[in-house]
């Protein structure tokens, strides 16, 4: 009885592990494809492949003991780092808001943000956060040129009318990204 169950569990374990090894690289490629689309929109002009040149920065361990890694995508021109893009996220009104922000190496200003994932309310929030709409250009575009020397305050940006929590979520994610960039500037810009 116990033998049969053990055998079934062992066989299942092997089967799942085998499929995992088959699909692991495809899954990582699929995830990176998503990032590629965002990068061209948030980084200044570059002539390298930011994904191939990506840097993994260790951020310490989370509460389950696993190492947190931040993936940073440097943009280079003629071998010099001109900017970097990094992912960030923060809770919005209804779930997580994930975005990618680009920061200029020299200017230390935001070169753009791209909202990758959000599940905010249909209506003014979706209109402003969906990259396909004209309202998105106004909302996300206003972050371009903002200095990253310090956090951006809510008063410094035009919030989405009727979607305060969504706005705060985006702002929190941007500021979190700025903070991470500043903390690890040396590693990112070398």
């Amino acid at each position: 009885m116990a033998v049969v169950l053990t055998l079934i569990c062992a066989a299942s374990g092997f089967l799942v592990a085998w499929v995992d090894s088959l699909t692991r690289t495809k899954i990582e490629t699929a995830q990176l494809q998503k990032v590629a689309g965002a990068l061209s929109q948030v980084l200044p002009e570059y002539d390298n492949n930011p994904i191939a040149d990506r840097i993994n920065i260790e951020l310490g361990k989370d509460n389950r003991g696993r190492t947190q890694v931040l993936k940073v995508f440097p943009a280079k021109k003629g071998g010099q780092v001109v900017g970097a893009a990094l992912p960030s996220n923060a809770p919005g009104y209804a779930g997580n808001i994930a975005l990618v922000l680009g920061i200029g190496a020299e200017s230390k200003e935001l070169t753009g943000i791209y909202i990758a994932e959000q599940s905010e309310t249909i209506g003014p929030a979706q209109k402003a956060l969906d990259p396909a709409t004209p309202e998105y250009k106004d909302f996300a575009g206003q972050f371009q040129g903002k200095s990253t020397e310090s956090e951006i305050a809510l008063g410094d940006i035009d919030a989405i009318s009727g979607a305060t929590y969504s706005t705060k979520g985006v702002l929190a994610a941007v500021n979190k990204g700025i903070k991470l960039f500043n903390e690890h500037q040396d590693q990112i810009l070398k």
């Binding site: 009885m1 299942s12 374990g13 499929v19 699909t23």
Partner: protein, 209 residues
Amino acid sequence: MSLTKEFTKGFWELLAPFRLVLGLCPVLAVTGTVFGGIGMGLATTFVLVCSNVLISLLRKYIPGKVRIAAYIVIIASFVSIVDMLLKAYQPDLHKLLGIFIQLIVVNCILLGRAEAFASKQGPLASTLDGLGIGLGFTLSLAALGVIREVLGSGTITLYGKSLVFNIMGDGYEPFAFMVKAPGAFVGLGVMLAAITFIGVLMERKKRSA
């Protein structure tokens, strides 16, 4: 029962979830879009067929006392596999279905068919049983998905945003109730009532014939 009957019963007598009232959780959760409904249905069919076949092949070797545990391990393994396959080859669908892919493991249809059928029948019959019930389930999800998505958003969107059928036209004000949770319950209830009614009519016709 003849082998063809094993396959076709999944499309009416044992139509899930409207006649075989099992597997209601994904029905409510993913039918906000047709794409999600069909995707979930096909993923469930894959797991159902694989687990039915494997359990049928092993039915003589699994002792009665540990059979539920064994079935769950087998079903869970195939759910993990389909989760990885979707993540690799259909990332948009994977993101849309989210946690409900992994919740296929608690879908009562799977354990129900394992216990009621696959553990007692041969592998060919079990394959057809799984295929029939799984595809019937997929059709049910698609039907409810069409109702909810057309009424609730006015359009049918397939494959992310690439194919959009603007069914109700541009002037349509979407009845957003239908794509949210209460709309799911109402939609499910209406379809359940309709299908039961058709069933009653068919019974009456058979009896008076």
